[in-house]
C-alpha cells in the first residue's frame, strides 16, 4: 500500500505541476502580521495618550458646584469613546499576536497583559511629549460632533442652571463678553464684577470656564459671571478662530441677542 500510495501522490504532484510555495511568501505573511500588531499597538498607545490627556483635565474644582462627588464626576468625565477605541485596538493586537507562528504558545492572559502594558507605557510616553493633546486637538478640528462623543468636557461644563458655563470667547469687552458654548449658542456674559483668574491680555478665541449665575431672560442667553477660569486643553472645542456676532454675514440665527 505504502509504495503504491507514495507513487500516487508523487504522480499527482507532477501531473498538477504542484511545487512548494516560495519561502518568502511565508516570511512576508508573518512579518505582515507582526507589523499590523505593531501598528495597532501604536494606535492603541495614541488612544491611551488622548484618554490620559482628557482625564488629566478633570475639572474637579467644579465638581462640587455641579453636585457631583469627585468619584462620580471622574466617572462621568471619562472619555468612553476613546476607551472603546483603545479596547478595540487591544483586541485587534491580541488577535494578530495570537495568529503569529508562536502566538498560540502564550496564554490569553499573557498576551492581553503584554498588549495592555505596552499600550499604557506607549500611551504615557506619547502623552508626555504632548501627542495626546495634539490628537485631541486634531480631532476637534476635523471630526464632526467630536465634542459630543470624543471629548465631552465642554458639554459636561455646560450647566448654566447650576451656575457653570464653558465656552469660547468671541468678544471681550469691559462689561460684557460673548461666549459660544459647545452647542453653538452665543451667551452674553456680564463680567463687571467677575474675578478673572490668570488674566491674559486677550482671551478672544480661547475657551474659558465661567462660574456665576444664569440670568432669566426669554430674549437672550444671558449669564452673570462671578469668576472666569482658564480652560486648558484638551477641552473638546474646535480651536479654529470664529468671528464674533457683529462681524458675521448674515447674522447667526441661534442667538437670541440683538
Amino acid at each position: 500500500m505504502t509504495k503504491e500510495f507514495q507513487h500516487k501522490i508523487l504522480e499527482a504532484l507532477k501531473e498538477k505541476d504542484i511545487s512548494p510555495r516560495p519561502r518568502w511568501t511565508f516570511l512576508v505573511k508573518e512579518k505582515m502580521i507582526w507589523a499590523s500588531a505593531g501598528v495597532v499597538i501604536v494606535l492603541g498607545s495614541l488612544a491611551a495618550a488622548t484618554t490620559i490627556a482628557i482625564v488629566s483635565m478633570h475639572d474637579l474644582d467644579i465638581a462640587g458646584r455641579l453636585e457631583h462627588t469627585k468619584a462620580g464626576w471622574l466617572l462621568l468625565s471619562l472619555p468612553y469613546a476613546w476607551i472603546v477605541l483603545l479596547v478595540g485596538f487591544l483586541l485587534l493586537a491580541e488577535y494578530n499576536i495570537r495568529h503569529t507562528k508562536q502566538g498560540y504558545r502564550y496564554s490569553l492572559i499573557k498576551i492581553t497583559g503584554g498588549v495592555i502594558g505596552l499600550s499604557i507605557i506607549g500611551g504615557l510616553g506619547l502623552y508626555s511629549i504632548g501627542l495626546g493633546h495634539d490628537l485631541d486637538d486634531v480631532m476637534s478640528r476635523h471630526v464632526p460632533a467630536y465634542e459630543k462623543f470624543g471629548n465631552r468636557r465642554a458639554a459636561h461644563l455646560l450647566n448654566p442652571e447650576r451656575g457653570v458655563l464653558a465656552g469660547k470667547v468671541l468678544v471681550q469687552e469691559e462689561e460684557f463678553w460673548q461666549i459660544q458654548d459647545v452647542e453653538k449658542h452665543i451667551w452674553v456674559v456680564s463680567v463687571e464684577d467677575a474675578e478673572i483668574v490668570g488674566r491674559e491680555h486677550t482671551l478672544v478665541g480661547k475657551p474659558v470656564r465661567v462660574i456665576g449665575e444664569l440670568i432669566k431672560d426669554d430674549e437672550a442667553y444671558a449669564f452673570e459671571a462671578g469668576e472666569i477660569l482658564p480652560m486648558k486643553p484638551p477641552h473638546g472645542f474646535d480651536r479654529t478662530e470664529r468671528k464674533p456676532l457683529r462681524e458675521r454675514r448674515p447674522p447667526p440665527q441661534q442667538t437670541r441677542t440683538q
Binding site: T2, H7, I9, L10, P20, P22, F26
Partner: protein, 189 residues
C-alpha cells in the same frame, strides 16, 4: 538523488531537502502514511477510500507548505497539525464521529496506568467499552485523549499540533479524563 530510505536523515532535514528534490517527499510519505491514517480513523469515521483521499490532500498540502515549516517545531508536530486542521475543516460540517475507536492492548494498558483513569478502567474494563466511550466524547476532548494516549504525544507536541497553550492542553486533558470516566461509569452500571 536516489530515492532510498535515508534512515540517518531526520524528518526535519528531509523536509528541507525535499523543497529542492521532490522525489524525497516519498520518504516522508512512507514515514507518516501509517501514523496519519491511524490518526484520521481515530478522530473521525471515514471509509478506507475517503481516508485515502483525505491523506492525499493532506500530503499535497504538506508539500505545498514545506517552505513554511516552522523549524522550532518537530516535523511530526507540524504534519500532525496540518492533518488535524484539514480533517477538522472537512468534517466540521458533517459532524462525523467515529462509532468506535480501535484501541490496542498496550494502549489500553497505557490509559489504565493513568492515575485518574486507573480505578475506573479496572472496573469498566472491556476494551470495547472504552472504545465506545471515547467515541462518545466531544471532538475536542476525544482529540486530546487520542493524541495523549493513543498517539502518545507529549504536552508540548499536543500544544504544537492543536495550537493551544500547554496550560490549556493540561486543562483539556483533565476535563476529558473526567468526562471519559463519567461515561465509563455510566456504561458499567
Amino acid at each position: 538523488m536516489q530515492h532510498t530510505q535515508m534512515p540517518d536523515t531526520t524528518d526535519e532535514e528531509l523536509a528541507v531537502l525535499t523543497i529542492s528534490n521532490q522525489a524525497l517527499f516519498g520518504i516522508l510519505i512512507e514515514r507518516y502514511e501509517g501514523k496519519l491514517r491511524r490518526y484520521i480513523h481515530r478522530i473521525t469515521s471515514v471509509t478506507k477510500e475517503d481516508c485515502d483521499d483525505i491523506l492525499q490532500e493532506i500530503f499535497i498540502n504538506v508539500y505545498k507548505n514545506l517552505a513554511g515549516f516552522d523549524t522550532s517545531l518537530s516535523f511530526s508536530s507540524w504534519i500532525y497539525r496540518i492533518a488535524h486542521n484539514h480533517v477538522r475543516s472537512q468534517f466540521r460540517k458533517k459532524q462525523a464521529r467515529p462509532q468506535s475507536i480501535i484501541i490496542d492492548a498496550d494502549i489500553l494498558e497505557n490509559m489504565a496506568s493513568d492515575e485518574d483513569l486507573h480505578s475506573t478502567l479496572d472496573k469498566a474494563f472491556a476494551k470495547e467499552t472504552l472504545e465506545r466511550a471515547l467515541a462518545q466524547l466531544d471532538e475536542k476532548y476525544r482529540t486530546v485523549l487520542v493524541l495523549k494516549f493513543l498517539e502518545e504525544k507529549e504536552y508540548k507536541e499536543i500544544s504544537d499540533i492543536l495550537q493551544k497553550p500547554s496550560g490549556t492542553i493540561g486543562t483539556l486533558i483533565n476535563r476529558a479524563k473526567k468526562k471519559l470516566r463519567a461515561i465509563l461509569e455510566k456504561e458499567s452500571v
